[in-house]
Each structure stands twice: as C-alpha cells, then as structure tokens.
Amino acid sequence: MAYSEKLIDHYSNPKNVGTLDKAKTNVGTGLVGAPECGDVMRLQIEVDEVSGMISDAKFKTFGCGSAIASSSLATEWLKGKSIDEALLIDNMDIVEELNLPPVKIHCSVLAEDAIKAAINDYRVKNGLPEMVSEKKAH
C-alpha cells in the first residue's frame, strides 16, 4: 500500500509533538483509543483566554503511520482556530488531505474524537456543560 507524500511527511516530520500542562485551566486534554486496538492518541489544546482562540496544540500518538500523521495534521489545523471552528473539523477532511486508504479511515475518526475530547475537557474545566456529540461508528 503506497501512502501519500503528505502522510509520509507528517509521519517523518511530525508537527507539534509534545505535552502541555494539563493542570492549567486553559488547557484541554483528549485521550482516545486503546493500547489493545493498536492506537492511542493524546491531543491537547491551549486556549488564549483573551481572544478565545486556540494558541497552541500538541499531540502524542501510539499507533501506525496514519494515526501519527492524522494527529499531527489535526494539531496543525487547530492552531489559530476558535473552539467553534475547531468543532467543525471532520474526519473526512483528514482522509482527503492525507489520502488515507479505506483501512485507515479509523485513524481519522480517532483524530476527530481526540479533538472533541480535548475541547470537552476544556469546556468542563471552564464551567461549561459537556457537549453531547453523536459518536461515529468505528
């Protein structure tokens, strides 16, 4: 199976690998997946309290090349977006951008889940109600 150049580039030179301080109230952390399934993503956002924009995003991923690339791409897209804009990121956008093969679509779903989980964590920390989103079938 040949992967796209963009995917290989995100795998080889991943953007925004790292850890934000999860104790801070303006940092939201999403941890999704399971070791047994072969992929775990942790995605974090830091929200600028004045502008309400996502000022930083970091990830760490255990998984295949597509999972690593999907999370790297997600952090790139998150930076500079508002929370509401971030919620619009759809897994199919990731599939298209990285040209993921059908067996790897679950990696993009996981990345979308990670974004939503991070946003939820941020909302709960800041006294906002948790979003109820319909769960995509994996």
Partner: protein, 406 residues
C-alpha cells in the same frame, strides 16, 4: 563495499532463489520440456529421470526413501493433503485430530474444514514460550484419535517443538504424527526416521528454491501410511496427487535440498551468530522482549516486541530500506494482531508492538549493523511521541486507565 538497499529480512515469508537452483532449472523449460508421465518417448524419459534425481536429492535431506516423496504445488497443498487425506483414509479408525493454536493457517483452516465434515479437532494451547505441553498432548489422545499435527518450527517466532517427544507419544498410542516442516527443513537437521515423523510437508521457496513446488513426505514402512488423494486425475505420485509434474520446479527443489544438505550446518552457525547479535543489540533498548523460547528456536529467526510503540508505525520508519514483518495487522480489515503471539499469552499491546526478523543465506553483517541502527533510532523517536511511553515513564499503570475501546 557499499551497502545496497533495501535489505531483505523477511526470509520466513519467502527466500530469494539461489542462482545455482535457477541454473539447474533452466534446461527444463524449453529444451527438456517433456512430461514425466510420457513413458513412450525420450522427451518423457528425460523429464522422468530429472524428477527421479530430484526425488533422491529431496529424500536425502530428510533421511527418507525417494518413494516416500510426494510432490505438490507447495506446503499449503501438502498440509491439506496430509490432514484431509488422513482424515478420509482412516475414517474407520477414528475422527479425532490433535493440533495446536500456533499452527500455520493452512493447517488450522484445513482442521476447520474437517470439523465441518464431522471430525473432532483438539487445539492445544501453547505455553508462554510457545512450546506445547507434552502431558496435555498425551491427555488429549482418545481411542478416536488418528492424527497429531504439530509443526516443526514456527513461522512467526521460530520456536522448535519437541518433535521426538511428540512422535514417541504418538507411537505409544498408535496415532500418526504429521508435522509442518516448512520453516525447519533445510535450516536445521530434520531426520524423519530419527524424529519418528509419519507425514511432513515443506516447500521449495522457503529454502532458496522456486515457488509453486512443495513436498508431502508419506512414510512407507513402520507404519505404512496412506492418504486419500485430494486431487483426482491421472494417478500421479503413487495415486496420492494427480497432476502433471512441475518438472522445472521439482528439479529446482531437488537442487535447493542438495545445497541445504551441504551448507545447512555452516549456514545455521553463521545466521544464529548474526541473529544473536541483532537480538542482543536491540535488547539494549528498554522494554524490549523476545517472543518465544530462545533456546529451542530456528537459527535465523527472532521476534521482538518493543513496548509502547506500534509495529506498523515502527516499520514505516524504515520500510523503504528494510523489509520485515510485524505482528501488528493494523492493515488487515480485522485489526487483529498476530494470533500466534496472542496464543503465547501476550497482551494485544505487546502483540501490536512486535517485529519478526527472518535472516537468510544472503544476509550480511553490514545489513545487520544498518538494521540495528535504523530500528533503535526509530523506536526511540516513536517513543518520544508515544503517550504510553510518557505514562510509563511517569509511573502510571496503563491497566489502571479506562480506555475508550473502539
């Protein structure tokens, strides 16, 4: 000498053909094209002579009689013929077969087929080191048991089963013993008499011979074993496997066996030294585990799990330069990791983190050096971006986390 890339370390999947084998085969395509079953002219005689010679070469490698060699299209066919053929031939004696959970799919799926035909199959579990428990094997035998099917050397972890102990248990109870010798024949000494083997399958392309040709050894004396043919036709191969013989393939397989006969011992020494060096260097990494028994093992194979990194992601770090396999079947529709590793009791996480190395005749020390560096660097790099590694380093017990299974 400059190192040529990519490096091939997947010799348990298939081996490159030895040029000496190709040379032996070449006359049998155009010039000596005869059908070995054509008894009435010289074209047929030439082909038959070549097949007879190859049969001797094959028999010699495993200390069999040439009449006991049945040529097939490969080990998968030989496995099917052994299992289904014995099941049908000995139906009046019983319908129970004993095998184990780490067998190749060609054995397991043939057993599933037999179950659908009314057979009873016991799938023995293996111990954490991959070896079967002999007491469990003996306890599983009933008065309906007709066959024990346990592989010689495992394709994924290289573990070599206690063949002589198994065969003596089979003998004691009057049960036939079949072994899948695909990974072992030509790599370690296999002696059907001393090992007490009644039936054995193996394949040309795992021992530097051609693809599309294999063997089922069927014992003729003490006891005389028979299998019901699974391919009807002209009654070739003593009626056990019809179909015009693949003369060039058989000639190639014979030559491959002859070369193994002469070079196996020194090759095994060379490869196990390289394999041990590779293994010991990679084990310098933290949280690396060798899967399977290290003492009872094929000389050219190792299977290592690198905890907290995923196997397919790991391979992507060097698969332009190094070809090998992972126990993580992330690309398969099922997303299930290797059933062999799971049979050892490995958690899915460790099974997903495994790499299989299969060294071969053309593996060099320079290739091993390159591989050690590439894998170490990739493991370290991926651990830096692994949330599981970070948690492990912070002392968090991963089992204490409620994972969102998906």
């Amino acid at each position: 000498m400059k190192l040529e890339l990519p490096i091939y370390l997947d010799n348990n999947a298939t081996t490159p053909m030895d040029p000496r084998v190709l040379e032996a085969m070449l006359p049998y395509f155009v010039e000596k094209f005869g059908n070995a079953a054509s008894r009435n002219h010289s074209f047929g005689w030439v082909a038959e002579e070549a097949v007879d010679y190859a049969r001797e070469q094959v028999a010699k490698l495993i200390n069999a009689d040439s009449k006991e060699i049945i040529f097939t299209s490969g080990a998968t066919e030989a496995n099917n013929l052994a299992l289904k053929g014995v099941f049908e031939m000995y139906a009046s004696k019983g319908n129970h077969i004993i095998t184990c959970t780490t067998e190749h799919k060609a054995v397991l799926d043939a057993c599933k087929h037999i179950e659908k035909q009314g057979g009873q199959v016991t799938y023995l579990e293996v111990q954490p080191d991959g070896l079967i428990d002999l007491a469990q094997l003996e306890a599983a035998i009933t008065d309906k048991t007709i066959l024990i099917a346990i592989m010689y050397g495992n394709n994924e972890i290289g573990v070599v089963q206690p063949i002589r102990e198994i065969s003596s248990i089979a003998r004691k109870h009057g049960v036939l013993f079949f072994t899948d010798g695909t990974q072992a024949v030509g790599k370690i000494p296999v002696d059907v008499l001393a090992d007490g083997i009644d039936l054995m399958s193996f394949s040309g392309h795992k021992m530097y011979g051609p693809k599309g040709v294999g063997v089922l050894y069927v014992r003729r004396k003490n006891p005389r074993v028979k299998v019901t043919s699974q391919m009807d036709g002209g009654g070739h191969e003593r009626g056990m496997r019809s179909g015009t013989l693949n003369v060039p393939g058989i000639v190639g397989l014979g030559k491959a066996c002859e070369i193994c006969m002469h070079e196996m011992e020194s090759e095994a020494k060379r490869l196990s030294t390289m394999r041990d060096r590779l293994e010991n260097s990679l084990m310098e990494l933290e949280e690396a585990y060798v899967n399977g028994n290290r003492a009872h093992r094929l000389p050219h194979t190792t299977n290592i799990s690198f905890k907290y990194v995923e196997g397919e992601g790991l391979m992507m770090g060097f698969n332009k330069n190094i070809a090998l396999s992972s126990g993580s079947a992330c690309t398969s529709a099922s997303l299930e990791p290797s059933y062999v590793l799971k049979a050892l009791g490995l958690g899915d996480d460790l099974a997903h983190s495994s790499l299989r190395f299969g060294l071969g005749r053309y593996t060099t020390d320079e290739q091993i050096d390159f591989t050690i560096d590439a894998i170490k660097n990739t493991v370290l790099k991926l651990r830096e971006m692994s949330p599981l590694w970070e948690m492990h380093k912070e002392g968090i017990d991963l089992n204490s986390i409620e994972w969102a299974h998906h």
